[in-house]
């Protein structure tokens, strides 16, 4: 019997103008999970954007610090984002992610130059059978 899919809902963020006045809203698919590094202390729940356009999981260096990871001991990589901006990242293995009742080993590229955690194709999408985005219903179904 197949497991029930994990269902998450988009979260709505305000859009502000340069004066800080709210001028609209935007919805983003955020999922919460727990993390640990090499069977260490559990951290979270924390949220990240499920980003089908990201190749790898990409997290700010603050999270590495909390997990007890020495940032610069990771494998050095370069990540290119929109507008061709390149940032230096450090890939770390040995990280376990717990999404509701499902867990898997993964890698995360950490960087001091990014702020918002992103979950990408390698290390997140490839850990599940199927991920379906429904923009109309503002939900994401994740099949394990």
């Amino acid at each position: 019997m197949a497991n029930s899919p994990i269902k998450i809902y988009y979260e709505v963020f305000p859009v502000l103008n340069s004066s800080g006045k709210k001028i609209g809203e935007v919805a983003r698919p955020i999922i919460y999970f727990l993390l640990n590094y090499k069977h260490g202390k559990m951290f979270g729940p924390m949220g990240a954007i499920i980003d089908s356009g990201a190749d790898y999981n990409l997290f700010p260096a603050d999270v590495a610090d909390i997990l007890g990871i020495k940032l610069m001991k990771g494998e050095e990589k370069v990540n290119e984002g929109i507008g061709g901006k390149r940032v230096k990242t450090y890939r770390h293995l040995g990280i376990k992610m717990f999404v509701e009742g499902y867990s898997f080993n993964t890698s995360i590229d950490f960087s001091k130059e990014i702020s918002v955690p992103l979950l990408g194709q390698q290390g997140f999408f490839d850990k599940f059978k199927k991920i379906t985005f429904s923009r109309v219903d503002e939900e994401v179904l994740i099949e394990t």
């Binding site: 963020f13 919805a27 700010p60 603050d62 610090d65 939900e139």
Partner: protein, 61 residues
């Protein structure tokens, strides 16, 4: 549909926030993740942590 709306998010553009279990109420916020976690942990058990994207620009990761 179950749109999540976090109250008072406008004040936390490009900062960490910690939410209570409803995931709609901010219990702590700021630039320093460790401090946000420590402050939130005094108020609630297992706060939900999230980095708020910058709110005054389009965010295209």
């Amino acid at each position: 549909m179950n749109k999540q709306k976090i109250k008072g998010l406008e004040k936390y553009s490009d900062k960490w926030v910690a939410l209570d279990k409803s995931k709609t109420t901010i219990v702590a916020g700021g630039k320093n993740l460790k401090k946000v976690l420590a402050d939130a942990s005094k108020k609630v058990d297992k706060p939900f942590l999230m980095r708020v994207p910058p709110l005054d620009v389009s965010f295209s990761p």
